[in-house]
Every structure is written in C-alpha cells, then in structure tokens.
Point group: C2
Chain length 338, copies 2
C-alpha cells in the first residue's frame, strides 16, 4: 500500500502530492545539490541488458516480440522506482477528511518512466523522426490504457532534459503521471478554453493559431500539420508551444500523420534552440484534454517546451507571476534566423 | 518610458510581465548559467561607500540623518537597475488590446531592492532581531508609500538567498515589486479566504493556526506572537509559514510588537533550517492583503519560506502541482529536534 496522499491546502484549495514513501532525510538533499545526474553509462539501469535493474516493465515496443524485461526493445516503460502515486493504492479517490478541517485523498495514480532508446547517449535531436514517433506512440498507448481506469482523471507526459531542468538520470527518458484530479494549470487552460467556447462557439487554440499565423512575428516554424510559436504571454525566454493546425482535444487520439509532424516539429525546434542557446537544459510537457470527453470541442492538445535559461526565483514561486526578460517576438525571430 | 508590458494569455487568463528592457541576448543566458553570483565584495555596488554605483536611493534608514546616496545608512532602498516595472511608465493600468484578440497593459509599478545591511558578508541569521526589524520596517514604509498610488493594487516583498534560489548578488538584499494587478497565487489565497469567511464568518488562517496548535505535529516553534508551521499541504520539503497569532490583514499595518516577534521567529526558523539542512539557499515571501482594504476581515498576512533543496522540474512547472517527498510532519519534527 502506498504511503502517498493528495492533500488540499485549506486556504487556496491547491492540491499537492505528499509522497512520503520517497521519504528523504536532510542528508539526501545535501547530496542532491552536489550531484544531480547520478547515473553514468557504466551503471545505468535504463540501458539495454540491465532490464532486471528496473521494476518489471509495464509496456515495451519490441520489433520482434521477445520476452518482457529482456533486451530487444526500442522504447520501454517501467514504473518509477520512487512513485509519487500508485494504482495499487487502496481506497477511492474521494475526498476524505484527515480532520474536520483538513482534506486529503489516497495517492491513486501511476508514475511511469518512458525510456526513449536503448542507447545511453542518444538524445532527441539525434533520433530520427521515426524514432521520436515511436516514443510518442508508446506514451499514447499508456494513456489509452490508463484512461480505462475510472479513478484516473488526467495523465500528463513530460520530460526533464539536463540536470538543471530536474533530470536525475542522463539516459534519455520521459515520464508519465496519471492523476485522480486535473492539475491546476491544466484546469486553468481547460476552464479558459471552455469559457471562450461558450462565448464564441470557437476553440481558443484554433483562434490563437489563426492570429499568430496572420501576424507572423511570433511564429518560429511550420512543419506540416504543426505550428511552433513563441506564445504572446510567454512565461520565460524562448518558451515554445507546438500546436497541431487541425482541431483535436486528445494527444492520445491524434491521427498518425499529425503525430509524425509533431515529432518532426519538435526535433526542428530543439535543433534551433540548441544552436541559438548552446544546448540548454529544457522541460517539455504535453497538454491533453481531461479524460472523459467533455472537452472535445473546446480543448486542443499541444506541447509546451521551456528552455531552462534562468532559475525560477522567489517572486515567481510566491506569486505564480512570471517576469520574462525576452519578448516572444525577439525569441521567435532569433529561432527563425539561427 | 518603460518598454515593459503586462500581457494576458488568451487561453488561461494568466498575466505575465514582458520586461524587454531587460532585453537579453542568447549569450547572456549562457553566462548566467555559468556564474549566478556575479558580484564579489571588491566591486559590490550594495556596499557602504559605493552609493553612487546604484540608481539614486528611494529611501534609507539613517541613524544620524545624513545626505541621500552617501554613507551612514543602516538599510537602503534603490530601484532595481533592470526594473520589471516602473512608476514613470506612461499610460493607465487599463487593459488595452494589442489586437482584438490579445490583451496587454503598460508595465506600471515599481521594482526595488532593499539592501539589508551596509556589510557585504552579513546574513539574516547573523543580524540581531533589532536589525531584522529595521529591514522589515523599511519594507513596510515603502509599501505604505506605494499604496498611495491609485494605480498600484499590490506589493510583494521577497528575498532570494543563494545563487540556487535565484540571487544574482551575494550582498544581503530583499526585493519589492509593486503591481497594477493582484498576482495569481495571492489571488487564489485571497479568494479562498473570502469564500471561507463568507461561509463561516471566520478567518481561515486563524482557523489553520487553531487546528495546528491543537494538533501540534506540524508546529515548528512559537515565538511570542508568531507561530511557525510546516503547512498541511506543503509544496516542497521544509516549506515553512510564519503566521501572527492575532488577526491582521496587512503586513504594512502590523503592530510593532508583532513585527518584532516576526523578526525573532524568522531568525529562529532560519537557524534551525541552517543546522538541519546545511545552510541551504532559500526563497522567502511576504503575503499581505491587496491594497484597498476589502480583505481586512478575511485575509491574514504571513511569511512563506521555502528552502531550495531540489529543483522544480517539468511536472511542477507544467501543472502547478507539487510532489513533495517529505511529509510536513517529518519536516516539523526534524526542525523542532535539531
């Protein structure tokens, strides 16, 4: 049974995950500050041939079939060794009360690692479009499986690249977290998009694309069915959104040609960011519609990419309000011209 | 005229500051990653005797009077050299439309640096309670001045300590940002507290304190009129809130004995955090009520302190949803016992 819980802040209503199972002692934090990337190739459990060093796999893309947890895979999904949430958690995701005053719910969900390649040193920009498509498709497969569980309301796929972006392993990997609630920032987008649709009968993301493609100054590139923009209200320098041209709410249900163009667009944008900004650390996140289908008309799936060029400091953390020293028009121009 | 603007994200409604005046080139970011703390004592413009190296001071605590921008001060306030917002900005903080679709407003506000001490190497835990009170009182003085400007709706005082917490100078300083809107996270607290008050006729922070002092397991310490707790829904390990026992909405209007106890509590908590966690970098932020007086009954000023022990990664950034590996009950116990 998991020892993790979701807890609600009684003032703001914000939910957090208290994953005490990851339970660290103060000495662990000291270590973490000194060395974020802990696993070199010699002892990396994500490398082909070391399958027994991870928890048993949940899914793998194997070109010739082959036994689970053996070599021969192209993309492999394993549970996070220190999961923030687990499907085996006993209980239902109903708000319970720790006391009359404080609310919590059991930490039901899933926390998975998507190992992008058997090769320790291969990064996204070194992979072919086809290889990136395979990674995206494995994520989509996991999402379609997880949404069958009625306790799961949302799944988020994200990637931390580089120690300064929070990666603790060098070997290329993404993560998937499935949740019993829709997280705050996604909720803000979902609610904003619903309100816009209610007022206009149009998708706000479709309208953003129409405006941006007309104005041109924040467009970084177009790659088939996908447009990359520096969003009008970018939170940080060189923030990039990759948005499919045609409306679709769910990443996991997107047509194969759109996924292929997303892979190509992602690679093209990352190559430009690497050239312009000297291969910075970055975070990448997929925003899809909440499970359940209620947002099919108003929501529009997309990928958000944020190079980590400066540290988020006290002001941003304490206010949720970002100061961005680089106008998105400048960022888009630099990435177009590089 | 300032070249900074507030812009509204058309999807989520989130506002950001685009401070293009800080306008950095890609090469600046490379530099920033290499060396965050740029100014050593030999050339620090915050040190006594180098007053001419900052923009002209806005306020100073001088024990014997003395001319502005000369030595002899105890606490000194100067404009940030690269301000995110400026009071001299032309225009009114009314939402204007860049196009029919995108909304912005001029970057009216103030971005100030509070130099805590003339001594380059003196940190908060090395200062006397009286010295910390002076710093808090200078912040309060600036807030009372700024709230007289009808364009200013909120002011936030915060401190980044250590390069990993976003500090770019070693010399002890806090910052103040005055804004034409109430930032998101404060708005969430303000709205949550208003809703709670509407339903109960009680302040939610007063009730949090009552619950925490009864349960005891998340109380770190009490220092006179101030209680330090590890909040029930802590976002990160060893997050600490310092809350006055008696209700009061505005930091800038708090009675002198409460400010004195806040200074003492802050110092006592920082000493414990330094002992338990090996003097980590931290962010500190003061949450006060929005200017205008509408929240006198429902809001309750407090200080939030977050040691920076792990990097905020893609999941947190993309979702607003925090995974905290240390239960606040454990954090409070460790800080009580250290």
């Amino acid at each position: 049974m998991s020892s993790s819980f979701l807890r609600r802040d009684p003032v703001s209503g914000r939910w957090v995950i208290i994953a005490a199972e990851r339970g660290r002692r103060p000495s662990d934090f000291t270590f973490e500050r000194q060395t974020a990337t802990t696993m070199e190739a010699e002892e990396c459990p994500f490398c082909e041939g070391r399958e027994s060093q991870t928890p048993p796999e949940l899914f793998a893309d194997r070109v010739d079939g082959g036994a689970p947890n053996s070599p021969g895979w192209r993309v492999r999904v394993v549970p996070n060794k220190y999961p923030a949430l687990e499907l085996s958690t006993v209980g239902t995701p109903v708000r319970s009360a720790d006391t009359d005053f404080f609310q919590s719910m059991p930490g039901i969900g899933s926390h998975e690692v998507i190992i992008e390649t058997p090769d320790h040193h291969r990064t996204l920009t070194e992979m072919s479009d086809e290889e990136i498509v395979r990674v995206l498709n494995v994520c989509r497969e996991r999402m379609r499986t997880l949404r069958e569980d009625p306790r799961i309301r949302y799944a988020i796929v994200f990637k931390n690249h580089g120690a300064q972006a929070g990666a603790t392993r060098e070997h290329g990997h993404a993560q998937l977290i499935a949740l019993p609630i829709v997280p705050d920032f996604v909720r803000e987008e979902v609610d904003g998009a619903r309100a816009y649709f209610a007022g206009t009968n149009r998708c706000v993301f479709c309208d953003v694309l129409r405006e941006e493609r007309a104005a041109k100054d924040r467009v970084i590139l177009e790659h088939g069915q996908v447009v990359a923009i520096a969003p009008y209200a970018s939170r940080s320098p060189f923030e990039t959104w990759l948005v499919p041209k045609h409306h679709g709410a769910a990443f996991e249900d997107a047509p194969a040609p759109v996924v292929a163009d997303m892979a190509g667009a992602l690679k093209a944008v990352l190559e430009r960011i690497n050239r312009a900004l000297h291969t910075p650390p970055y975070n990448l996140i997929v925003h899809t519609a909440p499970f359940g289908g209620g947002d099919a008309e108003s929501f529009h799936w997309h990928v958000e990419l944020m190079p980590r060029l400066s540290r988020t400091a006290g002001f941003e953390w304490g206010t949720g309000f970002y100061i961005n020293p680089t106008a998105p028009e400048d960022a888009a121009r630099i990435l177009r011209e590089v």
